[in-house]
Protein backbone atom coordinates (compact mmCIF):
# COMPACT_ATOMS: atom_id res chain seq x y z
CA UNK A 1 0.00 0.00 0.00
CA UNK A 2 1.43 3.35 -0.89
CA UNK A 3 1.40 6.06 1.68
CA UNK A 4 -0.01 9.19 0.05
CA UNK A 5 1.02 11.55 2.84
CA UNK A 6 4.57 11.93 1.51
CA UNK A 7 3.28 12.66 -2.00
CA UNK A 8 0.83 15.29 -0.71
CA UNK A 9 3.59 17.08 1.20
CA UNK A 10 5.83 17.23 -1.88
CA UNK A 11 2.95 18.64 -3.95
CA UNK A 12 2.40 21.35 -1.31
CA UNK A 13 6.03 22.38 -1.57
CA UNK A 14 5.71 22.72 -5.33
CA UNK A 15 2.47 24.62 -4.90
CA UNK A 16 3.97 27.20 -2.56
CA UNK A 17 7.03 27.47 -4.77
CA UNK A 18 4.72 28.41 -7.64
CA UNK A 19 2.92 30.90 -5.40
CA UNK A 20 6.25 32.45 -4.47
CA UNK A 21 7.17 32.77 -8.14
CA UNK A 22 3.84 34.41 -8.92
CA UNK A 23 4.26 36.80 -5.99
CA UNK A 24 7.78 37.68 -7.12
CA UNK A 25 6.48 38.35 -10.62
CA UNK A 26 3.73 40.63 -9.33
CA UNK A 27 6.16 42.52 -7.09
CA UNK A 28 8.50 43.11 -10.04
CA UNK A 29 5.63 44.32 -12.23
CA UNK A 30 4.36 46.70 -9.55
CA UNK A 31 7.86 48.03 -8.92
CA UNK A 32 8.42 48.65 -12.61
CA UNK A 33 5.04 50.35 -12.98
CA UNK A 34 5.06 52.59 -9.92
CA UNK A 35 8.81 53.09 -10.01
CA UNK A 36 8.55 54.74 -13.40
CA UNK A 37 8.08 58.48 -13.05
CA UNK A 38 5.20 60.20 -14.81
CA UNK A 39 6.35 62.04 -17.92
CA UNK A 40 4.86 65.53 -18.07
CA UNK A 41 7.37 67.01 -20.50
CA UNK A 42 5.04 67.03 -23.47
CA UNK A 43 2.56 69.15 -21.57
CA UNK A 44 5.38 71.32 -20.26
CA UNK A 45 6.70 72.00 -23.76
CA UNK A 46 3.22 72.82 -25.03
CA UNK A 47 2.69 75.33 -22.24
CA UNK A 48 6.11 76.82 -22.93
CA UNK A 49 5.29 77.30 -26.60
CA UNK A 50 1.96 78.94 -25.75
CA UNK A 51 3.68 81.30 -23.35
CA UNK A 52 6.32 82.22 -25.92
CA UNK A 53 3.65 82.76 -28.57
CA UNK A 54 1.77 85.26 -26.37
CA UNK A 55 5.06 87.06 -25.81
CA UNK A 56 5.38 87.83 -29.52
CA UNK A 57 1.85 88.08 -30.86
CA UNK A 58 -1.64 88.57 -29.55
CA UNK A 59 -4.93 88.83 -31.36
CA UNK A 60 -3.24 87.89 -34.63
CA UNK A 61 -0.89 90.87 -34.44
CA UNK A 62 2.81 90.96 -33.72
CA UNK A 63 3.42 93.00 -30.58
CA UNK A 64 5.14 96.37 -30.76
CA UNK A 65 8.06 95.41 -28.52
CA UNK A 66 9.16 92.38 -30.56
CA UNK A 67 12.01 94.39 -32.06
CA UNK A 68 13.52 94.85 -28.59
CA UNK A 69 13.70 91.11 -27.89
CA UNK A 70 16.83 89.18 -28.75
CA UNK A 71 18.54 86.01 -27.58
CA UNK A 72 20.24 87.90 -24.74
CA UNK A 73 17.15 89.36 -23.09
CA UNK A 74 14.54 86.84 -24.26
CA UNK A 75 14.05 85.22 -20.84
CA UNK A 76 13.65 88.56 -19.09
CA UNK A 77 11.30 90.08 -21.68
CA UNK A 78 9.07 87.00 -21.84
CA UNK A 79 9.09 86.36 -18.06
CA UNK A 80 10.77 83.00 -18.23
CA UNK A 81 13.23 81.33 -15.87
CA UNK A 82 15.12 78.28 -17.14
CA UNK A 83 16.85 77.51 -13.86
CA UNK A 84 16.08 74.05 -12.43
CA UNK A 85 16.56 72.02 -9.27
CA UNK A 86 19.99 70.72 -8.24
CA UNK A 87 19.40 67.09 -9.17
CA UNK A 88 20.05 67.86 -12.82
CA UNK A 89 23.67 67.69 -13.91
CA UNK A 90 23.39 70.79 -16.07
CA UNK A 91 21.22 73.28 -14.23
CA UNK A 92 20.94 75.73 -17.06
CA UNK A 93 20.68 73.18 -19.82
CA UNK A 94 17.27 71.57 -19.49
CA UNK A 95 15.43 73.79 -21.95
CA UNK A 96 15.97 74.89 -25.54
CA UNK A 97 13.99 77.38 -27.57
CA UNK A 98 14.39 78.49 -31.18
CA UNK A 99 12.10 81.14 -32.64
CA UNK A 100 12.20 82.21 -36.26
CA UNK A 101 10.18 84.81 -38.14
CA UNK A 102 9.49 84.42 -41.85
CA UNK A 103 7.85 86.97 -44.11
CA UNK A 104 5.39 85.06 -46.25
CA UNK A 105 5.21 87.57 -49.11
CA UNK A 106 8.97 88.00 -49.36
CA UNK A 107 10.92 85.21 -47.65
CA UNK A 108 14.26 86.82 -48.46
CA UNK A 109 13.55 89.73 -46.14
CA UNK A 110 14.13 88.92 -42.53
CA UNK A 111 11.44 90.24 -40.23
CA UNK A 112 13.40 89.59 -37.06
CA UNK A 113 16.60 87.77 -36.15
CA UNK A 114 16.33 84.18 -35.01
CA UNK A 115 16.11 83.87 -31.24
CA UNK A 116 17.90 80.87 -29.80
CA UNK A 117 18.14 80.24 -26.06
CA UNK A 118 19.13 77.23 -24.00
CA UNK A 119 21.08 74.04 -24.47
CA UNK A 120 20.95 72.70 -28.03
CA UNK A 121 23.13 69.66 -27.34
CA UNK A 122 20.28 67.25 -26.61
CA UNK A 123 18.02 68.44 -29.45
CA UNK A 124 19.49 65.96 -31.93
CA UNK A 125 18.07 63.11 -29.82
CA UNK A 126 14.57 64.21 -30.82
CA UNK A 127 15.28 63.34 -34.45
CA UNK A 128 16.93 60.01 -33.71
CA UNK A 129 15.16 56.75 -34.56
CA UNK A 130 16.68 55.08 -31.53
CA UNK A 131 13.98 54.72 -28.86
CA UNK A 132 16.47 55.23 -26.04
CA UNK A 133 17.73 58.53 -27.46
CA UNK A 134 14.19 59.76 -28.03
CA UNK A 135 13.54 59.64 -24.30
CA UNK A 136 16.36 62.10 -23.71
CA UNK A 137 14.20 65.08 -24.59
CA UNK A 138 10.76 66.02 -25.78
CA UNK A 139 10.69 68.43 -28.72
CA UNK A 140 7.71 70.17 -30.25
CA UNK A 141 7.54 72.66 -33.11
CA UNK A 142 4.55 74.88 -33.77
CA UNK A 143 3.92 77.54 -36.38
CA UNK A 144 1.39 80.30 -36.41
CA UNK A 145 0.66 83.36 -38.50
CA UNK A 146 0.44 86.98 -37.44
CA UNK A 147 0.30 90.38 -39.06
CA UNK A 148 3.09 92.85 -38.50
CA UNK A 149 2.47 96.53 -37.75
CA UNK A 150 2.65 97.31 -41.48
CA UNK A 151 0.23 94.46 -42.28
CA UNK A 152 2.85 92.06 -43.59
CA UNK A 153 2.13 88.38 -43.15
CA UNK A 154 4.58 86.80 -40.75
CA UNK A 155 4.95 83.10 -39.94
CA UNK A 156 6.40 82.56 -36.48
CA UNK A 157 7.96 79.16 -35.91
CA UNK A 158 8.62 78.13 -32.34
CA UNK A 159 10.70 75.05 -31.63
CA UNK A 160 10.90 74.16 -27.94
CA UNK A 161 12.52 71.27 -26.15
CA UNK A 162 12.63 70.06 -22.55
CA UNK A 163 15.14 67.52 -21.29
CA UNK A 164 14.56 66.80 -17.53
CA UNK A 165 15.16 63.12 -18.21
CA UNK A 166 16.07 62.26 -14.62
CA UNK A 167 12.61 63.20 -13.39
CA UNK A 168 10.46 62.08 -16.28
CA UNK A 169 12.01 59.00 -17.85
CA UNK A 170 13.89 56.02 -16.56
Amino acid sequence: MKNKKGTDMILSVYWFAILALVAAGIFVMVYLFYGHPSDVREMEVSILIDKIATCFAQGGRVLDNVGEINSGNFLEKCNLDFDVEEVFKIREGQYYVNISFDKLDNPENIFHEVIEVGNANFVSSCFSDDVEYKRQAICIQEKFYALSQDNKKIMITIFASVRKTEKNAK
Binding site: M1, F16, A23, P37, I47, K51, D81, E85
Partner: protein
Protein backbone atom coordinates in the same frame (compact mmCIF):
# COMPACT_ATOMS: atom_id res chain seq x y z
CA UNK B 1 -6.23 0.19 1.95
CA UNK B 2 -5.10 2.96 4.22
CA UNK B 3 -8.00 4.90 5.55
CA UNK B 4 -7.31 8.54 5.99
CA UNK B 5 -8.76 10.04 9.14
CA UNK B 6 -11.39 12.69 8.40
CA UNK B 7 -10.01 15.07 10.98
CA UNK B 8 -6.55 15.06 9.43
CA UNK B 9 -7.95 15.53 5.91
CA UNK B 10 -10.04 18.55 6.93
CA UNK B 11 -7.29 20.22 8.96
CA UNK B 12 -4.81 19.94 6.13
CA UNK B 13 -7.23 21.50 3.67
CA UNK B 14 -8.15 24.30 6.04
CA UNK B 15 -4.52 25.15 6.63
CA UNK B 16 -3.91 25.09 2.89
CA UNK B 17 -6.84 27.44 2.19
CA UNK B 18 -5.87 29.80 5.03
CA UNK B 19 -2.31 30.08 3.75
CA UNK B 20 -3.57 30.84 0.26
CA UNK B 21 -5.95 33.49 1.57
CA UNK B 22 -3.16 35.03 3.64
CA UNK B 23 -1.00 35.19 0.55
CA UNK B 24 -3.72 36.89 -1.47
CA UNK B 25 -4.51 39.39 1.29
CA UNK B 26 -0.86 40.34 1.69
CA UNK B 27 -0.58 40.77 -2.06
CA UNK B 28 -3.67 43.01 -2.24
CA UNK B 29 -2.46 45.13 0.69
CA UNK B 30 0.88 45.57 -1.00
CA UNK B 31 -0.77 46.67 -4.25
CA UNK B 32 -3.06 49.19 -2.55
CA UNK B 33 -0.21 50.59 -0.47
CA UNK B 34 1.95 51.10 -3.54
CA UNK B 35 -0.78 53.05 -5.28
CA UNK B 36 -1.28 55.52 -2.46
CA UNK B 37 2.32 55.80 -1.32
CA UNK B 38 3.84 59.09 -0.26
CA UNK B 39 6.49 59.00 -2.98
CA UNK B 40 3.97 58.68 -5.77
CA UNK B 41 1.70 61.38 -4.36
CA UNK B 42 4.57 63.80 -3.80
CA UNK B 43 5.66 63.47 -7.41
CA UNK B 44 2.12 63.81 -8.68
CA UNK B 45 1.35 66.95 -6.68
CA UNK B 46 4.70 68.63 -7.39
CA UNK B 47 4.39 68.19 -11.15
CA UNK B 48 0.74 69.18 -11.12
CA UNK B 49 1.47 72.40 -9.22
CA UNK B 50 4.47 73.24 -11.43
CA UNK B 51 2.42 72.84 -14.60
CA UNK B 52 -0.42 74.93 -13.16
CA UNK B 53 1.98 77.73 -12.27
CA UNK B 54 3.52 77.54 -15.74
CA UNK B 55 0.19 78.05 -17.43
CA UNK B 56 -1.15 80.67 -15.03
CA UNK B 57 -0.84 84.38 -15.86
CA UNK B 58 0.12 86.80 -13.10
CA UNK B 59 -2.77 87.56 -10.79
CA UNK B 60 -4.19 84.02 -10.78
CA UNK B 61 -5.34 82.20 -7.66
CA UNK B 62 -5.16 78.42 -7.87
CA UNK B 63 -6.97 76.06 -5.51
CA UNK B 64 -5.89 72.43 -5.43
CA UNK B 65 -7.74 69.69 -3.61
CA UNK B 66 -5.05 67.86 -1.66
CA UNK B 67 -7.26 65.80 0.62
CA UNK B 68 -5.34 62.60 0.06
CA UNK B 69 -2.03 64.37 0.53
CA UNK B 70 -3.10 66.16 3.69
CA UNK B 71 -4.40 62.93 5.19
CA UNK B 72 -1.09 61.26 4.51
CA UNK B 73 0.81 64.25 5.90
CA UNK B 74 -1.28 64.19 9.09
CA UNK B 75 -0.60 60.49 9.43
CA UNK B 76 3.13 61.07 9.01
CA UNK B 77 3.04 64.03 11.42
CA UNK B 78 3.96 66.64 8.83
CA UNK B 79 2.56 70.13 9.36
CA UNK B 80 0.12 71.08 6.58
CA UNK B 81 1.93 74.37 6.13
CA UNK B 82 5.09 72.41 5.31
CA UNK B 83 3.48 70.13 2.71
CA UNK B 84 4.00 72.52 -0.18
CA UNK B 85 6.97 74.88 -0.34
CA UNK B 86 7.82 77.14 -3.23
CA UNK B 87 11.21 78.82 -3.26
CA UNK B 88 12.41 80.58 -6.35
CA UNK B 89 10.98 78.64 -9.23
CA UNK B 90 11.01 75.24 -7.53
CA UNK B 91 8.03 73.48 -6.02
CA UNK B 92 8.69 71.01 -3.22
CA UNK B 93 5.98 68.70 -1.89
CA UNK B 94 6.65 66.82 1.32
CA UNK B 95 4.25 64.22 2.73
CA UNK B 96 6.57 62.37 5.09
CA UNK B 97 9.29 63.37 7.53
CA UNK B 98 12.20 62.33 5.36
CA UNK B 99 10.43 62.67 2.02
CA UNK B 100 10.07 65.44 -0.50
CA UNK B 101 9.89 65.84 -4.27
CA UNK B 102 10.99 68.92 -6.17
CA UNK B 103 10.03 70.10 -9.63
CA UNK B 104 10.82 73.41 -11.28
CA UNK B 105 8.59 75.71 -13.30
CA UNK B 106 9.71 78.18 -15.97
CA UNK B 107 7.17 80.95 -15.38
CA UNK B 108 9.11 83.87 -13.89
CA UNK B 109 6.61 84.97 -11.25
CA UNK B 110 6.36 85.37 -7.50
CA UNK B 111 4.31 82.60 -5.98
CA UNK B 112 2.81 82.45 -2.51
CA UNK B 113 0.99 79.46 -1.10
CA UNK B 114 -0.88 78.42 2.02
CA UNK B 115 -3.16 75.55 3.09
CA UNK B 116 -6.85 76.07 3.72
CA UNK B 117 -8.08 76.73 7.25
CA UNK B 118 -8.31 73.36 8.97
CA UNK B 119 -11.36 74.49 10.97
CA UNK B 120 -13.35 75.39 7.87
CA UNK B 121 -14.74 72.23 6.30
CA UNK B 122 -15.27 73.86 2.93
CA UNK B 123 -11.60 74.70 2.41
CA UNK B 124 -9.64 72.52 4.83
CA UNK B 125 -8.60 70.11 2.06
CA UNK B 126 -7.64 72.86 -0.36
CA UNK B 127 -4.22 74.36 -0.94
CA UNK B 128 -4.12 77.92 -2.28
CA UNK B 129 -1.48 79.16 -4.69
CA UNK B 130 -1.31 82.84 -5.62
CA UNK B 131 0.64 83.77 -8.74
CA UNK B 132 1.88 87.36 -8.63
CA UNK B 133 4.00 89.34 -11.07
CA UNK B 134 7.69 89.29 -10.34
CA UNK B 135 8.68 91.98 -7.86
CA UNK B 136 11.86 93.67 -8.89
CA UNK B 137 13.98 94.83 -5.99
CA UNK B 138 15.10 98.23 -7.19
CA UNK B 139 18.15 100.00 -5.73
CA UNK B 140 15.94 103.01 -4.86
CA UNK B 141 13.83 100.81 -2.58
CA UNK B 142 16.93 99.55 -0.79
CA UNK B 143 18.05 103.11 -0.05
CA UNK B 144 14.67 103.96 1.42
CA UNK B 145 14.80 100.94 3.72
CA UNK B 146 18.30 101.81 4.90
CA UNK B 147 17.27 105.44 5.62
CA UNK B 148 14.31 104.28 7.67
CA UNK B 149 16.53 102.09 9.79
Amino acid sequence: MVKRKRGTFLAENIIFIVLNLAFLIILMLFLFKQGSGAILLEQSYAKQIALLINSAPAGTEIQINMQEGFELADKNKVNRADVVNIYGNIVKVKLSEKGGYEYSFFNDVDVSEFPGNIYDDSIKNLHFIIVNPKQEFLPENLNEVENEE
